[in-house]
Symmetry: C2
Subunit: 109 residues, 2 copies
DNA sequence: ATAATCTATCGTATTATTGCAATGAACAAA
DNA sequence: TTTGTTCATTGCAATAATACGATAGATTAT
Protein backbone atom coordinates (compact mmCIF):
# COMPACT_ATOMS: atom_id res chain seq x y z
CA UNK A 1 0.00 0.00 0.00
CA UNK A 2 3.03 2.22 -0.02
CA UNK A 3 2.57 3.35 3.54
CA UNK A 4 4.85 2.19 6.30
CA UNK A 5 3.07 0.23 9.03
CA UNK A 6 4.63 2.21 11.83
CA UNK A 7 2.08 1.10 14.41
CA UNK A 8 3.31 -2.49 14.39
CA UNK A 9 6.84 -1.56 15.36
CA UNK A 10 8.22 -0.31 18.63
CA UNK A 11 8.61 3.38 19.36
CA UNK A 12 12.33 2.91 19.44
CA UNK A 13 12.43 1.21 16.07
CA UNK A 14 10.39 4.00 14.59
CA UNK A 15 12.61 6.62 16.18
CA UNK A 16 15.74 4.98 14.83
CA UNK A 17 14.14 4.88 11.41
CA UNK A 18 13.18 8.55 11.61
CA UNK A 19 16.62 9.65 12.71
CA UNK A 20 18.18 7.52 10.00
CA UNK A 21 15.86 9.09 7.47
CA UNK A 22 17.38 12.44 8.31
CA UNK A 23 20.69 11.09 7.04
CA UNK A 24 19.23 9.06 4.21
CA UNK A 25 19.73 11.70 1.55
CA UNK A 26 23.11 13.11 0.50
CA UNK A 27 21.78 16.66 0.50
CA UNK A 28 20.72 16.34 4.12
CA UNK A 29 24.07 14.79 4.98
CA UNK A 30 25.74 17.77 3.35
CA UNK A 31 23.54 20.20 5.24
CA UNK A 32 24.33 18.56 8.56
CA UNK A 33 28.05 18.38 7.82
CA UNK A 34 28.04 22.03 6.93
CA UNK A 35 26.16 23.05 10.04
CA UNK A 36 28.59 21.03 12.12
CA UNK A 37 31.59 22.65 10.51
CA UNK A 38 30.63 26.25 10.06
CA UNK A 39 30.96 28.29 13.16
CA UNK A 40 28.14 30.61 12.37
CA UNK A 41 24.68 29.24 11.76
CA UNK A 42 24.48 29.71 8.07
CA UNK A 43 21.14 30.18 6.53
CA UNK A 44 20.91 30.87 2.81
CA UNK A 45 24.58 30.07 2.51
CA UNK A 46 23.41 26.50 2.30
CA UNK A 47 21.82 27.28 -1.02
CA UNK A 48 25.23 28.41 -2.25
CA UNK A 49 26.95 25.33 -0.92
CA UNK A 50 24.45 22.86 -2.26
CA UNK A 51 23.90 22.32 -5.95
CA UNK A 52 20.16 22.43 -5.50
CA UNK A 53 17.49 25.03 -5.96
CA UNK A 54 16.48 27.22 -3.07
CA UNK A 55 13.08 25.60 -2.83
CA UNK A 56 14.65 22.14 -2.61
CA UNK A 57 17.07 23.17 0.10
CA UNK A 58 14.24 24.74 2.04
CA UNK A 59 12.32 21.50 1.81
CA UNK A 60 15.22 19.43 3.15
CA UNK A 61 15.63 21.92 5.98
CA UNK A 62 11.97 21.52 6.78
CA UNK A 63 12.35 17.75 7.06
CA UNK A 64 15.38 18.03 9.29
CA UNK A 65 13.53 20.53 11.42
CA UNK A 66 10.54 18.22 11.68
CA UNK A 67 12.68 15.32 12.83
CA UNK A 68 14.19 17.76 15.30
CA UNK A 69 17.81 17.41 14.34
CA UNK A 70 18.13 21.09 13.49
CA UNK A 71 16.24 24.17 14.39
CA UNK A 72 15.96 27.59 12.86
CA UNK A 73 15.68 30.96 14.38
CA UNK A 74 14.20 33.78 12.41
CA UNK A 75 16.62 36.67 12.27
CA UNK A 76 15.19 38.80 9.51
CA UNK A 77 15.63 38.78 6.73
CA UNK A 78 17.57 35.58 7.30
CA UNK A 79 16.87 32.38 9.13
CA UNK A 80 19.61 30.99 11.25
CA UNK A 81 19.85 27.21 11.27
CA UNK A 82 21.87 25.09 13.59
CA UNK A 83 22.18 21.62 15.00
CA UNK A 84 19.83 20.84 17.86
CA UNK A 85 22.32 19.53 20.37
CA UNK A 86 19.76 17.57 22.32
CA UNK A 87 18.50 15.59 19.37
CA UNK A 88 21.99 15.26 17.98
CA UNK A 89 23.10 13.62 21.21
CA UNK A 90 20.01 11.44 21.14
CA UNK A 91 20.93 10.27 17.65
CA UNK A 92 24.51 9.71 18.67
CA UNK A 93 23.40 7.59 21.61
CA UNK A 94 20.80 5.62 19.68
CA UNK A 95 23.15 4.75 16.85
CA UNK A 96 25.98 4.17 19.28
CA UNK A 97 23.85 1.64 21.11
CA UNK A 98 22.92 -0.12 17.92
CA UNK A 99 26.44 -0.39 16.62
CA UNK A 100 27.81 -1.49 19.93
CA UNK A 101 25.49 -4.46 20.00
CA UNK A 102 27.77 -7.46 19.83
CA UNK A 103 27.32 -9.31 16.59
CA UNK A 104 26.43 -12.85 17.50
CA UNK A 105 28.37 -15.67 15.96
CA UNK A 106 27.10 -16.07 12.46
CA UNK A 107 26.60 -19.33 10.66
CA UNK A 108 27.37 -18.05 7.22
CA UNK A 109 30.58 -16.10 7.45
CA UNK B 1 12.09 15.46 -10.92
CA UNK B 2 11.86 13.05 -8.03
CA UNK B 3 15.26 11.54 -8.55
CA UNK B 4 18.12 12.20 -6.18
CA UNK B 5 21.02 14.03 -7.79
CA UNK B 6 23.65 11.68 -6.45
CA UNK B 7 26.31 12.76 -8.91
CA UNK B 8 26.62 16.21 -7.40
CA UNK B 9 27.50 14.91 -3.96
CA UNK B 10 30.66 13.29 -2.72
CA UNK B 11 31.07 9.53 -2.63
CA UNK B 12 31.19 9.68 1.11
CA UNK B 13 27.99 11.65 1.39
CA UNK B 14 26.27 9.18 -0.88
CA UNK B 15 27.63 6.27 1.11
CA UNK B 16 26.42 7.74 4.37
CA UNK B 17 23.01 8.27 2.81
CA UNK B 18 22.89 4.70 1.53
CA UNK B 19 23.89 3.21 4.86
CA UNK B 20 21.38 5.43 6.62
CA UNK B 21 18.73 4.29 4.19
CA UNK B 22 19.26 0.76 5.40
CA UNK B 23 18.11 1.92 8.82
CA UNK B 24 15.47 4.32 7.56
CA UNK B 25 12.60 1.87 7.86
CA UNK B 26 11.44 0.26 11.10
CA UNK B 27 11.12 -3.15 9.47
CA UNK B 28 14.76 -3.06 8.41
CA UNK B 29 15.76 -1.89 11.86
CA UNK B 30 13.87 -4.84 13.28
CA UNK B 31 15.56 -7.21 10.86
CA UNK B 32 19.00 -5.95 11.76
CA UNK B 33 18.28 -6.03 15.48
CA UNK B 34 17.08 -9.60 15.16
CA UNK B 35 20.10 -10.70 13.17
CA UNK B 36 22.34 -9.08 15.77
CA UNK B 37 20.60 -10.83 18.60
CA UNK B 38 19.83 -14.28 17.33
CA UNK B 39 22.72 -16.61 17.46
CA UNK B 40 21.72 -18.59 14.44
CA UNK B 41 21.26 -16.88 11.14
CA UNK B 42 17.55 -17.02 10.87
CA UNK B 43 15.97 -17.00 7.51
CA UNK B 44 12.23 -17.37 7.28
CA UNK B 45 12.01 -16.91 11.01
CA UNK B 46 12.11 -13.24 10.19
CA UNK B 47 8.73 -13.58 8.57
CA UNK B 48 7.43 -14.93 11.86
CA UNK B 49 8.99 -12.16 13.86
CA UNK B 50 7.87 -9.35 11.62
CA UNK B 51 4.23 -8.45 11.15
CA UNK B 52 4.65 -8.28 7.40
CA UNK B 53 3.98 -10.58 4.51
CA UNK B 54 6.71 -12.88 3.28
CA UNK B 55 7.06 -10.96 0.04
CA UNK B 56 7.55 -7.71 1.90
CA UNK B 57 10.19 -9.16 4.20
CA UNK B 58 11.98 -10.60 1.21
CA UNK B 59 12.03 -7.19 -0.39
CA UNK B 60 13.54 -5.53 2.68
CA UNK B 61 16.14 -8.28 2.82
CA UNK B 62 16.96 -7.61 -0.80
CA UNK B 63 17.57 -3.95 -0.08
CA UNK B 64 19.76 -4.69 2.90
CA UNK B 65 21.67 -7.18 0.79
CA UNK B 66 22.14 -4.63 -1.96
CA UNK B 67 23.52 -2.05 0.44
CA UNK B 68 25.78 -4.80 1.67
CA UNK B 69 24.87 -4.71 5.32
CA UNK B 70 23.70 -8.31 5.31
CA UNK B 71 24.35 -11.29 3.15
CA UNK B 72 22.55 -14.53 2.56
CA UNK B 73 23.83 -17.99 2.03
CA UNK B 74 21.67 -20.51 0.29
CA UNK B 75 21.27 -23.57 2.43
CA UNK B 76 18.38 -25.37 0.78
CA UNK B 77 15.61 -25.15 1.23
CA UNK B 78 16.43 -22.22 3.46
CA UNK B 79 18.47 -19.09 3.06
CA UNK B 80 20.67 -18.10 5.91
CA UNK B 81 20.98 -14.37 6.48
CA UNK B 82 23.46 -12.65 8.65
CA UNK B 83 25.16 -9.34 9.28
CA UNK B 84 28.07 -8.61 7.00
CA UNK B 85 30.69 -7.77 9.59
CA UNK B 86 32.81 -5.76 7.20
CA UNK B 87 30.05 -3.43 6.14
CA UNK B 88 28.67 -3.29 9.67
CA UNK B 89 32.03 -2.04 10.89
CA UNK B 90 32.16 0.40 8.02
CA UNK B 91 28.78 1.77 9.04
CA UNK B 92 29.84 1.93 12.66
CA UNK B 93 32.94 3.87 11.72
CA UNK B 94 31.22 6.21 9.31
CA UNK B 95 28.46 7.13 11.75
CA UNK B 96 30.93 7.24 14.61
CA UNK B 97 32.97 9.78 12.70
CA UNK B 98 29.95 11.88 11.94
CA UNK B 99 28.66 11.96 15.47
CA UNK B 100 32.06 12.64 16.92
CA UNK B 101 32.39 15.77 14.86
CA UNK B 102 32.48 18.57 17.39
CA UNK B 103 29.41 20.74 17.11
CA UNK B 104 30.64 24.25 16.52
CA UNK B 105 29.36 27.03 18.71
CA UNK B 106 25.91 27.86 17.49
CA UNK B 107 24.42 31.30 17.26
CA UNK B 108 20.86 30.27 17.93
CA UNK B 109 20.87 28.01 20.93
C1' DA C 1 6.11 54.21 -0.18
C1' DT C 2 9.16 51.44 -3.04
C1' DA C 3 12.58 48.31 -3.96
C1' DA C 4 15.48 44.66 -2.70
C1' DT C 5 16.53 40.50 -0.07
C1' DC C 6 15.67 36.23 1.98
C1' DT C 7 12.92 32.29 3.02
C1' DA C 8 8.68 29.45 2.91
C1' DT C 9 5.06 27.51 0.43
C1' DC C 10 2.32 26.03 -3.53
C1' DG C 11 1.72 23.53 -7.63
C1' DT C 12 3.32 20.14 -10.56
C1' DA C 13 6.00 16.39 -12.59
C1' DT C 14 8.61 12.42 -11.94
C1' DT C 15 10.58 8.69 -9.58
C1' DA C 16 11.00 5.82 -5.33
C1' DT C 17 9.12 3.16 -1.69
C1' DT C 18 5.97 0.20 0.69
C1' DG C 19 2.92 -3.63 0.76
C1' DC C 20 0.75 -7.90 -0.62
C1' DA C 21 -1.33 -11.73 -3.48
C1' DA C 22 0.00 -14.75 -6.77
C1' DT C 23 3.32 -17.18 -9.05
C1' DG C 24 7.79 -19.23 -9.97
C1' DA C 25 12.20 -21.61 -8.89
C1' DA C 26 14.94 -24.78 -6.25
C1' DC C 27 15.40 -28.45 -3.55
C1' DA C 28 14.15 -32.36 -0.12
C1' DA C 29 11.27 -36.05 1.13
C1' DA C 30 7.78 -39.34 0.09
C1' DT D 1 7.40 -38.57 -9.95
C1' DT D 2 4.76 -36.08 -6.85
C1' DT D 3 4.36 -33.29 -2.90
C1' DG D 4 5.71 -29.99 0.31
C1' DT D 5 8.77 -26.37 1.92
C1' DT D 6 11.24 -22.19 1.47
C1' DC D 7 12.36 -18.09 -0.65
C1' DA D 8 12.48 -14.82 -4.73
C1' DT D 9 10.13 -12.42 -8.23
C1' DT D 10 6.35 -10.37 -10.69
C1' DG D 11 2.48 -7.44 -11.06
C1' DC D 12 -0.29 -4.17 -9.17
C1' DA D 13 -1.90 -0.27 -6.25
C1' DA D 14 -1.18 3.43 -3.23
C1' DT D 15 1.65 6.64 -0.83
C1' DA D 16 6.16 9.05 -0.10
C1' DA D 17 10.03 11.52 -1.67
C1' DT D 18 12.69 14.50 -4.78
C1' DA D 19 13.13 18.53 -7.48
C1' DC D 20 12.13 23.03 -9.27
C1' DG D 21 9.66 27.27 -11.07
C1' DA D 22 6.67 30.56 -9.50
C1' DT D 23 4.78 33.06 -6.01
C1' DA D 24 3.84 34.85 -1.45
C1' DG D 25 5.33 36.79 3.10
C1' DA D 26 8.34 39.30 6.03
C1' DT D 27 11.70 42.58 6.87
C1' DT D 28 15.36 45.97 5.67
C1' DA D 29 17.15 49.61 3.02
C1' DT D 30 16.43 53.52 0.07
Amino acid sequence: MGVTKTQVFTDRQNRIADLAKALAHPARVAIIQHLLKVNSCVCGDLVEVLPLAQATVSQHLKELKQIGIIHGEINPPRVCYCINETVWQEAKAIFGDLFETPVSAACCN
